[in-house]
Symmetry: C2
Subunit: 202 residues, 2 copies
DNA sequence: AAAATGTTAAATGTCTACAATTTGTGGGTG
DNA sequence: CACCCACAAATTGTAGACATTTAACATTTT
C-alpha cells in the first residue's frame, strides 16, 4: 500500500456521505434535514450530526435558519455559476503556477492512480465515482500547491458548482482532459497545463 | 429606528467576539484555544463554543487538528494574499455590476449611516470600529447584489485578508475611498464605482 | 366567516456526564 | 546518552437529558 492506514473520523464519514447525497441529487434542493433522523441513520448521537450540518452549511451545500433546522440549498443561478467558474479558474491557475518543479515522482504516481480510478469509473459508467475522482485529482494539485489553506478556499466553490451538474455535463472528455493536464505537468510545460486546465473547468 | 430590534443568538455573539479578538490581534497567531476556558469566559457550556470554533475554522481564522483542539491561524503568505485580493476584487466588481439600478433610497440612507460610523470611528481613532464599519459597508453591497449566497463566498476571504492588517494599512484614505464609491453608485456611474472599488481593495 | 389569540407538539439549542484520544512525563533498556 | 515503551493528566469527542423556541392547529372573538 502507498501509505499507512489512517482512521477516518466519524464526522468526516458522515460529512462525506451527506455531501455525496446532495451532489448526486439523492437529496433534492429544499429538502429539510432532521438532526435526530440523521443521528439514527448513522448510529450516532445528535452532537456529531450537528457539527456536520454546520460544516456543510459553511460549505454552502445547506442553508440554516435559526431554530428551524437546515435544508438543502438550491442550485446556483447562472450569474453566480459564471462567477464561480471564473474564481475557480483563477485559483487553479494560481496553484499550477506555484507548482512549477515542486511535484515529485511520488506525486505523479499518485496522480496516475487517481486518473486510473477516473478511467475505471467512467468505463463502469459510475458517474458518481467519476465525480469523486475528478475532484480528487484537482484537490491533489491544489493541496500540493497551497496546502490546506488553499484547499479551504477552493473546496466550497467546487462543491457549490457541482450541485448544478444534474447529469448535464457528460464525462466523455473528462479522462482525456485530465490526461492532458497531467502530461503537461510531467513535461513541466506550465502554459500548456494552464490551457488544458482552463478547458477542463466549465 | 431603522429596523426592528432583532435578538442576536448566543453563538453569533460569541463568534463576533472571537472574530474581533483575532482580527484585532488580541489573539495572536498560533494561540491555542481551550473549549472549557472559552465556555467559562462566555458563561455557557462547551456545546455552543464548539459550534463557534467549527464555524471560525471554516472561515479560515482558526485551524483544527483532530482531537487536538484549535488554534489561531497564521497570517497569509504574500502569494496567497495576492490571490485573495484578486478574488475579492472579482467578487465585488461582479456585485456592483449586478447592482445597477437596484439600490433604493433606503439603501443609500443605510450606506450613508455606515459611512458616518466610519467617519466617527476614524475621528475617534478607534481603528477596530473603522474596520467593522469598513466591512459592513462592503457587506451591505455584497448582500444587496447576491444575497447570503454571495456573502458566504466573500466573507471568509475578507476575514482572512484582514488578519494581515497588523495596523499596516493606515485608514487615512478609508473614508474618502468609500465616499467615492457611494457617490458613484448614487450617480449610477458603474465604471466609476468599479474603479473606486478596485482602488479601495488592497 | 375571517382574523386574532391561546395551546400543543415537535424540532432545535443547551447543559452535564462519560468515553476515547492525544500529549507529556518518567523509568527502563540498548 | 539516546531511544523506546508504558503510564498518567488533560483535552477533545460523544451520548443522553433537559430547556427553549418555533410552527401548526384549535379556539375564541369580532
Amino acid at each position: 500500500m502507498r501509505e499507512a492506514n489512517k482512521i477516518i473520523p466519524v464526522r468526516e464519514q458522515i460529512a462525506d456521505q451527506l455531501r455525496s447525497d446532495i451532489i448526486s441529487g439523492k437529496l433534492a434542493p429544499n429538502t429539510k434535514l432532521n438532526e435526530q433522523q440523521l443521528a439514527n441513520r448513522f448510529g450516532v448521537s445528535r452532537g456529531p450530526v450537528r457539527d456536520v450540518l454546520l460544516q456543510l452549511t459553511k460549505e454552502g451545500l445547506l442553508v440554516a435558519k435559526n431554530n428551524c433546522g437546515v435544508s438543502v440549498n438550491s442550485v446556483l443561478d447562472p450569474s453566480m455559476q459564471e462567477l464561480m467558474i471564473d474564481i475557480r479558474r483563477r485559483i487553479e491557475v494560481h496553484a499550477i503556477r506555484n507548482l512549477k518543479g515542486k511535484l515529485t515522482e511520488m506525486d505523479f504516481a499518485e496522480l496516475e492512480d487517481i486518473l486510473e480510478r477516473l478511467q475505471d469509473a467512467f468505463d463502469a459508467q459510475e458517474f458518481h465515482e467519476v465525480t469523486k475522482a475528478d475532484i480528487d485529482f484537482h484537490m491533489y494539485l491544489i493541496r500540493a500547491a497551497g496546502g490546506d489553506e488553499l484547499v479551504n478556499l477552493w473546496y466550497p466553490i467546487v462543491l457549490r458548482m457541482r450541485m448544478n451538474y444534474k447529469r448535464i455535463s457528460d464525462p466523455k472528455d473528462c479522462v482525456d482532459e485530465h490526461r492532458a493536464i497531467l502530461d503537461a505537468l510531467k513535461a513541466n510545460k506550465i502554459n500548456v497545463a494552464t490551457t488544458a486546465l482552463r478547458a477542463n473547468i466549465k
